[in-house]
Amino acid sequence: MAKMNLLQAVNNALDLAMANDKRVVCFGEDIGKFGGVFRATSNLQDKYGRARCFNTPLTEQGIAGFAIGMAAQGHVPVAEMQFADYIFPAFDQIVNEAAKFRYRSGNQFNVAGLTIRTPYGGGIAGGLYHSQSPEAYFTQTPGLKVVVPSTPYQAKGLLLAAIRDPNPVIFFEPKRLYRAAVGEVPEDDFELPLGVAEVVKEGSDITLLAWGAQMEHLQAAAGMAEAEGISCEVIDLRTLLPWDVETVAKSVKKTGRLLITHEAPITGGFAGEIAATIQDHCFLYLESPIARVCGLDTPFPLVHEKEYMPDQYKIFEAIKNSIHY
């Protein structure tokens, strides 16, 4: 075990992936010599050469298309989108191409090796275009896997699993935690399974669900609630597509209550999908409406970032509302 922050965990996972499989190739804007604007790819060019770790021209649609082509050939591209806010020019390549590659060809071709990494989320004074959490834009797309780690440990284990998973994976990294989250991470190669949620803490009164950076707020709120005698079961979803309905439903059948939180705007966010599914699976068990504590239905505002964010106080209030419904 070693102490790593989330960024180091990502860098370490990439390093191991490249060391163990020469088909693994990393590229994106500024990721070469410079090591990326967040330094997630530091030293990789020195270690593995320019052919396997390189800067691309500034074109997200090109990066995604290029990565798809490499993956179709049998290589294992790990492409970086500099910010999740800038993934949209690549949207067509991701949802129309990568996601449908295997299906449309009757499995003649696939992009098994494809992974797209991108830092997402607010809390860094980034305003409209350095704060978005666009995961729900991708969860409507069969064929993709969508993964969001919340700790350095998860970042390493899930990223290694994502790179090796035989399906295209969008890997959202919580950039607010890049340096802020520090934890013990095994130095060896290891994987955490995709599609499996983690029950972080058991409890009996309410199930609290989140992923990525939002886990921090969720756990703080759970702490506040526990202090008032509310027993919280805390779940980290980890993979959003395909998501672990079973673990969540099982928990809600036990607690009778569910709260979901994400940073993205509430309307159309992934909490809606979860709520819709769980009210169906757990209808007779629910003691109060499934609560969603999410971003407002506005673009991400710089100056009112604090007010916009679904923070621990908002979550705590919603927990109490749910309990006292």
Partner: protein, 392 residues
């Protein structure tokens, strides 16, 4: 950037010299004065020409079949056979081909059988694509021919990436990617061309400039000197050829492949041609272009031009032509008829290949669907039988 400095204000308004078009073969099948024919064996020439004839027949018969309602949709290559087949012939089997959709000639050249064409167009259980895409969206892993995808130009940056991976692999293969002059307006074109140039990908970009994108003439598509001028702008070796001249196309592509594979760098080939038929069976060109314009291009038919050359070389005769056409007509129609009896893919294929394996969610959805179909078998004639016991 050059170090050329000027102190006189002058805007450039085009190339100092417009890009010229390589042309070797005259309409009568003889060579232009000064033109040098590429090395092309009789065997290869016959294979190219045979493919041309097959594609002519296939296109003609399938348009007919579509009119009869036996097929939902079709697109022809008519007028562009020399560009498509002449280019494909210059590559090796190990090279990947990524098409736009009008390049079934290249696929045929590689050996796709009449039967395989029919399976795809009839979306049956033997279609390599499992019946999921519209007719003409062929693909074959065995033949290194990437499955066609409808969204335009997406294959262009993919071809750069594919070729880059081939270069890493080190097996002296390259990628040939086709696209229309219309698709070249997409952002993906720019991204793919520029990346290939900067990252030195062994990709041959082959633009079929056939004058139209559905109803939109090339004057409403671009204002510059075609697509070739852009290649030069990307710092890419570029050549423009007469797309109806199979020798010019072949010669340019042999050279392009050589550069791509030996120098590890991309090449752009722009083939000037004309889409003689409708855009697709859903289209009627009389709404946007004249008969006269079409006739002008019909007069420089690429197949006829090659035929004249072949006959002049004594590699081909009118009698052989007649037999070949008759055989292909029969083969195509017989195969179509027989293939109409092949059943649709099993219901289970609805959920395979979304991921490498169906997840629990998809398995549940399929199970519910099976139950539902069992309740309403008459409403789902394609799959009811397979649900009722014939399938597990």
């Amino acid at each position: 950037m050059s170090d050329k400095i000027t102190h006189e204000l002058r805007l450039m308004s085009g190339f100092e010299m417009p890009i010229s078009t390589l042309s070797l073969l005259k309409a009568d099948g003889s060579l232009h004065k000064g033109a040098k024919a590429p090395k092309l064996s009789k065997e290869t020439a016959l294979r190219i020409y045979d493919t041309m004839l097959f594609i002519r027949v296939l296109d003609e018969r399938m348009v007919g079949a579509q009119r009869q309602g036996r097929l939902s949709f079709y697109m022809t290559c008519t007028g562009e056979e020399a560009a498509v087949i002449g280019s494909a012939a210059a590559f090796e089997d190990k090279d990947m081909i990524m098409g736009q959709y009008r390049e079934h000639g290249a696929l045929r050249y590689r050996g796709f059988t009449t039967q395989q064409f029919m399976h795809q167009m009839l979306s049956n259980s033997k279609d390599l694509g499992k019946g999921r895409q519209m007719p003409i969206h062929y693909g074959s892993n065995e033949l290194n021919y990437m499955t066609i995808s409808s969204p335009l130009a997406t294959q262009i940056p993919q071809a750069a990436g594919y070729a880059y991976a081939q270069k890493l692999e080190g097996n002296n293969a390259c990628t040939l990617v086709y696209f229309g002059e219309g698709a070249a307006s997409e952002g993906d074109f720019h991204a793919g061309m520029n990346m290939a140039a900067v990252l030195k990908c062994p990709t041959v970009f082959f633009c079929r400039n056939n004058g139209y994108a559905i109803s939109t003439p090339s004057e409403e598509q671009y204002a510059g000197d075609g697509i070739a001028a852009r290649g030069v702008g990307y710092g890419m070796k570029t050549i423009r050829v007469d797309g109806n001249d199979v020798l010019a196309v072949y010669a340019a592509c042999v050279e392009a492949r050589k550069i791509a594979v030996e120098n590890h760098e991309p090449v752009l080939v722009e083939a000037m041609s004309y889409r003689l038929g409708a855009h697709s069976t859903s289209d009627d060109p009389s709404g946007y272009r004249s008969r006269e314009e079409e006739d002008k291009w019909r007069a420089v038919d690429p197949v006829l031009r090659m035929k004249n050359w072949m006959i002049a070389k004594k590699w081909w005769t009118e009698a052989e032509e007649k037999t070949a056409m008759e055989n292909y007509r029969k083969e195509v129609l017989d195969t179509l008829k027989a293939t109409e009896k092949v059943p649709a893919p099993a219901l289970g294929e609805l959920i395979t290949d979304v991921y490498d394996k169906p997840d629990a969610n998809l398995e549940n959805q399929l199970a519910s669907l099976r139950e539902h179909i069992a309740k309403y078998p008459e409403k789902y004639p394609k799959t009811a039988a397979s649900v009722n016991g014939e399938e597990h």
